[in-house]
């Protein structure tokens, strides 16, 4: 399931709803991304998340579909917020549930890595020097490259 919205989400309620009633699930892995009050050496007072309505949902659905294609999953969830957020606020939740713990972990990790390099969101951080667009981190590309299948890497 994909949710793109401005409002905060209830982490416990979302995770509970994801697994509720499905007794084939043996493991639920989740990751929550939060706004930090520092970026490198700079203090962050707030950030604004811009996105591309329409394409955002499509990309997230593609990422979710690929995860479900790769691993035996019972349930998946991606929630991503946009708009103005403050330190400590929840930005994103990805979760994967499976009969098997390794599948839940790997799929959850895959979801956040791919989301970070594919989903059209951009962060503008409020710093003492004014608003600054966050640079892409090469470590995110490296994290995504890890998931490339051997037969696809050769393409």
């Amino acid at each position: 399931m994909i949710k793109v919205k401005r409002e905060d989400f209830d982490l416990g309620a979302e995770l509970k709803a994801l697994i509720d009633g499905n007794h084939q699930i043996g493991g639920l892995c989740s990751f929550v991304g939060l706004v930090r009050d520092m970026a490198g050496d700079e203090a962050i007072s707030a950030m604004t998340l811009e996105h591309y309505p329409g394409m955002t949902e499509k990309e997230l659905e593609r990422i979710e579909a690929e995860a479900r294609d790769r691993w035996p999953l019972d349930a998946t969830l991606i929630i991503h917020r946009y708009g103005r957020l403050e330190p400590g606020d929840q930005i994103v939740l990805v979760a994967a549930a499976s009969a098997h713990r390794e599948a839940a972990f790997d799929a959850c990790h895959f979801l956040i890595d791919f989301l970070k390099t594919k989903a059209p969101f951009w962060k503008l951080e409020d710093t003492p020097d004014g608003g600054q667009w966050v640079d892409t981190r090469t470590s995110d590309d490296a994290a995504t490259a890890r998931w490339v299948k051997p037969d696809k890497a050769a393409e």
């Binding site: 991304g33 998340l49 811009e50 499509k58 594919k118 951009w122 503008l124 667009w133």
Partner: protein, 83 residues
Amino acid sequence: MKLLYFAWLREKTGVSEETADPPADVATVAGLLDWIEARGGGHAEAFADRRAVRVAVNQEYVSLDHPVAAGDEIAFFPPVTGG
């Protein structure tokens, strides 16, 4: 065609969305970028470093040699930084 600009590309061009009608010989994303840059000002500045620009045609990532046509929704944006 509909052109969309996000993040600092939006700020530099001063436009978030515009309808454009380039000449018929503009057939690819690269050709469209040449035409946009030729308009000068913020548009030229925004696209000075094309390696910093990602392009989606009809909400799918494409490369610079991808065809463009009337009716397409074409979006320009920096590398994404969500999550």
